[in-house]
């Protein structure tokens, strides 16, 4: 009896310690080793590598003077003014921030009308559309890149259509525009979602009070609605900036090295085995993104949601013939077409491309997925093992991330010091790029490291699964925490007073009541694992451990079947099916993703 009691008493703390240990080994230790690499040379602390990078005009553009010759800046500025403001280079960091800024702007422009539509109009499929705004989070970004190639590429659907209409060709490939569009594909739904939620929480009674006090519709909107939307909009914009600043597969696939961002360049350095420079770059990038995330968290913490009240009424979207005379509704219709091109276009193009060849319909690309099994030529990327690996890693991630996520949720909802620690633990991985984590893992566990006198190496599959679990468990926590917090504390107290230990209460009462949230979180975790690219691409080696996204990236480069995206689109379609299935589970179970 005593043994059992002690076991139950220790179960949650032990699991929490294990979770922290996994995070320490697979996240904190590797990332810190990257940071160490950047500031320690030959056993002593030095700023030289950092200054080298920051003082290199290639990285920091005109700002490199800040680090090389700060005293000459005033004179330099004067020279620049005298020369009549010639164009200025901002370097790799400048470009990365610039594209993130443009992407944020595009996401807001594309996302805001969607929030207006969803919050203020009633139409068939509104709820479905609203839940579809989570979909991008589970779509693998490398797959979306393939979709964009299929839609906007040289031989893409858009050019096919334009050609058929005799309108000539556009080439968006390897341009900033396509990268910004792809980022909008990911982040505009985030803007839509957050702003819609804020809009729906505006109390109609307040607007009515303002109207009754004499404010016109526009004044009431400006004075009552806008102040409630702005915080949500700013939150979404800040998050979008962080995400697009760190964006990797989209820029890699759609921009290549010509339009490289810090993250892509970092990856290229690792590929060239310039690990020291990569570490320095990763350090600077991590410091920047941590600062941005800190800003975001500070800002988010200040926001208070005013719940309750009556939601603003929705108008019917279609009002018969009058629909065609209302400029707002016509505007929304045009917006709808644009959304269709941007969001549905790439996915449909990918599926269409996967079944059409130069001579019409073909199953060749799917056959190719199977055929290549036979060839054993070095360097070939076999599709079937990739599919099998992805699914196996997904299941492994599930098995690890779900308990980790639940344990962190339990700690968070119990309050106290553990709660704050758990929340902090959870936010940190959000702010560190997958490539930096991958680089850290390469340098530590994969290449081998010495812990307490033992040489430890953990490569391939194991490293990938654990890294995926670390990336995925916050999604379990995000789903389970609110569900656990929503359980009436009297249920827990009742079970305790009836003789159940804290752990038994969790098993007998709490978990059975939140199982849908656990499942939704699990589906998220699975989808994250299936789509993970940034870390996996650095850790995957040989046949044993590459995954669908990694194979996909290789197929984009491998045009052995002519100038066709065929194999990539076929693989992309498989990936789409798997992630769409996860999305269905999440949607059915009311899964949530709130940053």
């Amino acid at each position: 009896m005593n043994v059992r009691r002690w076991g139950e008493r220790l179960a949650v703390p032990t699991a929490f310690v294990l979770t922290v240990a996994i995070l320490a080994v697979v996240f904190y230790y590797p990332v810190l080793s990257v940071l160490r690499e950047a500031v320690v040379r030959a056993g002593s602390l030095t700023a030289a590598p950092l200054v080298d990078v920051l003082g290199d005009p290639f990285y920091t553009g005109v700002a490199h003077h800040l680090f090389t010759a700060p005293l000459s800046i005033p004179a330099g500025v004067l020279d620049w003014i005298r020369a009549g403001f010639p164009s200025v280079e901002f370097g790799l960091f400048g470009f990365t921030a610039f594209q993130a800024f443009l992407s944020t702007l595009a996401s807001v422009v594309v996302g805001l009308p969607g929030a207006y539509l969803l919050a203020r109009f009633e139409f068939r499929g509104r709820r479905t559309l609203r839940s579809l705004t989570i979909l991008p989070f589970v779509l693998p970004s490398i797959m979306v890149a393939v979709g964009f190639l299929a839609m906007f590429g040289q031989n893409g659907l858009l050019n096919d259509i334009l050609g058929a209409l005799g309108l000539g060709q556009v080439n968006l490939l390897f341009t900033l525009e396509i990268i910004v569009l792809a980022h909008a594909f990911y982040n505009a739904p985030l803007v839509t979602r957050l702003v819609t939620t804020a809009w729906e929480s505006v109390d109609a009674r307040r607007v009515e009070t303002a109207r009754a006090l004499g404010a016109g519709p526009f004044r009431a909107f400006r004075d009552i609605v806008v102040p409630q939307l702005l915080p949500a909009l700013l939150t979404a914009a800040l998050l979008t900036f962080v995400f697009t600043f760190l964006s990797f597969p989209i820029v890699l696939a759609l921009g290549g090295l010509r339009l490289a961002t810090v993250e892509v360049w970092l990856y290229a350095r690792v590929q060239d085995l310039e690990l020291a420079e990569a570490a320095t770059l990763g350090t600077i990038e991590t410091v920047l993104s941590l600062a941005l995330t800190y800003l975001y968290l500070r800002y988010e913490a200040r926001q208070t949601t005013t719940g309750g009240g009556t939601t603003l009424p929705r108008r019917a979207l279609a009002v018969g013939w009058k629909t065609l005379r209302d400029p707002v509704r016509i505007g929304l219709a045009v917006y709808g077409v644009g959304v269709l091109v941007l969001f549905v276009g790439p996915l449909v193009s990918m599926i269409v491309e996967s079944v059409t060849g130069p001579n019409g319909l073909t199953g060749a690309y799917y056959e190719f997925l199977l055929n290549q099994q036979a060839t054993t030529a070095a360097g070939t990327t076999k599709p079937l093992p990739a599919i099998a690996n992805s699914l196996a890693f997904g299941v492994g991630t599930l098995a690890l991330a779900v308990p980790m996520g639940i344990v962190v949720s339990v700690m968070v909802t119990r309050g106290g010091t553990g709660s704050r620690l758990a929340e902090t633990l959870m936010s940190a991985p959000l702010a560190v790029s997958g490539v930096v984590v991958g680089l850290g893992l390469l340098q530590t566990l994969v290449f081998g490291t010495t812990i307490a006198g033992y040489r430890v190496t953990a490569g391939g599959a194991l490293a990938i699964v654990v890294a995926h679990a670390v990336a995925a468990y916050p999604f379990v926590t995000r789903n389970v925490t609110p569900a656990l917090a929503g359980i009436d504390s009297q249920l827990v107290d009742s079970a305790r007073s009836l003789g159940a230990s804290r752990f038994r209460t969790l098993l007998d009462v709490e978990l059975p009541l939140v199982w849908t949230a656990v499942l939704a979180g699990g589906a998220f975790a699975f989808a994250i694992s299936i789509g993970e690219f940034d870390t996996t691409v650095l850790l995957a080696e040989g046949v044993e451990s590459y995954t669908m996204p990694v194979a996909l990236e290789r197929y984009i480069g491998n045009r052995s079947l002519g100038p066709s995206l065929g194999p990539a689109t076929a693989m992309g379609t498989v990936l789409l099916l798997v992630t769409a299935a996860s999305f269905l589970v999440i949607e059915r179970l009311g899964g949530r993703w709130e940053p």
Binding site: N2, W6, S494, R496, G499, S501, R502
Partner: protein, 366 residues
Amino acid sequence: MSDAVPERDPTTTDAGVALDNITVEFSGVTALEDVSLSVDEGEFFTLVGPSGCGKTTTLRAVAGFEEPATGEVHIDGGRVTDLAPERRDVGVVFQHYALFPHMTVRENVAYGLRFRDPPGGVADDERVDELLSLVDMAGMGEREPEQLSGGQQQRIALARALAPGPDVLLLDEPLSALDARLRERLRVTIREIQQELGITTIYVTHDQSEALAISDRVAVVSGGRIEQVAPPETVYREPQSRFVAEFVGENNLFDGEVTATAPPRATVDGVEIALPESAAVDTGDSVALCVRPEVLSLGENDTASNATTLTATVEHREFLGDAYRVHCSWNGRSLLVKTDSREPPEGTVTLTVDTDDIHLLSDSGR
């Protein structure tokens, strides 16, 4: 393996529940301050007070849900201060029933039996049936909690709390979510079951009339302190403080100054009022006089020597069914009178109060 969690200490008192100098703080705010209580074995003891006064915190300290910053908790004479809730042998019933929604009624009632040593098997089934009959819910075992009405759910919650045979039953506003008529019926049921089992019971309510109706003794709690502990009649007739006088029932309170001691008299706003012979006061003392609305008689001119007569004006009357509540004004103060007269007078009236019906608050009731 050694068990560092202390088992109950040997008997130190024979009280059913004893709290010794309990202080509970929530992030620096004191919710309970140095509270000591002793509940007798088999007693029905009620904590009553306004919301936020600390009565629920007191109950939760007994159950082990709140950890006191200082002080000791004893149950059946054993020290339980450091025991987890599941090891205290208490049964708890909450306001919102807290039935486990994913279990049937039977599974709910049987839940606490799982942790008895050794588990009972068939005996458990019998025990559940026995309790369902006790709360008049026999045959409802296979229902889901959500199929039951509020009153039925609360009966099941009571059965569940009693099933493991706890030493103490703790009820936290168990009737507050129910409508008035059901509340009165169920409180009789609770009292009857408590009497039948003879179980030590602590009952928390904000409803003073419920507290008076159901309890052996009542503790009036305010601002994290106990104001008075006494049988219901004493709390009502002889409140110890201004707070108790005003919280329990209705009261007319006058501040006055003692002008004479043999016989004792006081002036209130210049009007002389006779005090009870037994009043232990000195000339010049400030006193507070409590006069219940029902001891003021309206319109009858009682000429007995031990009565005080006041001339007041009727402002308005409320008909309560079995009585009238008459709002009067006297000397610029409002005065409440309760009368069962079929037709209370209006206009200027004479109010008479028997001297012995005036209760004095010592220390001006501070």
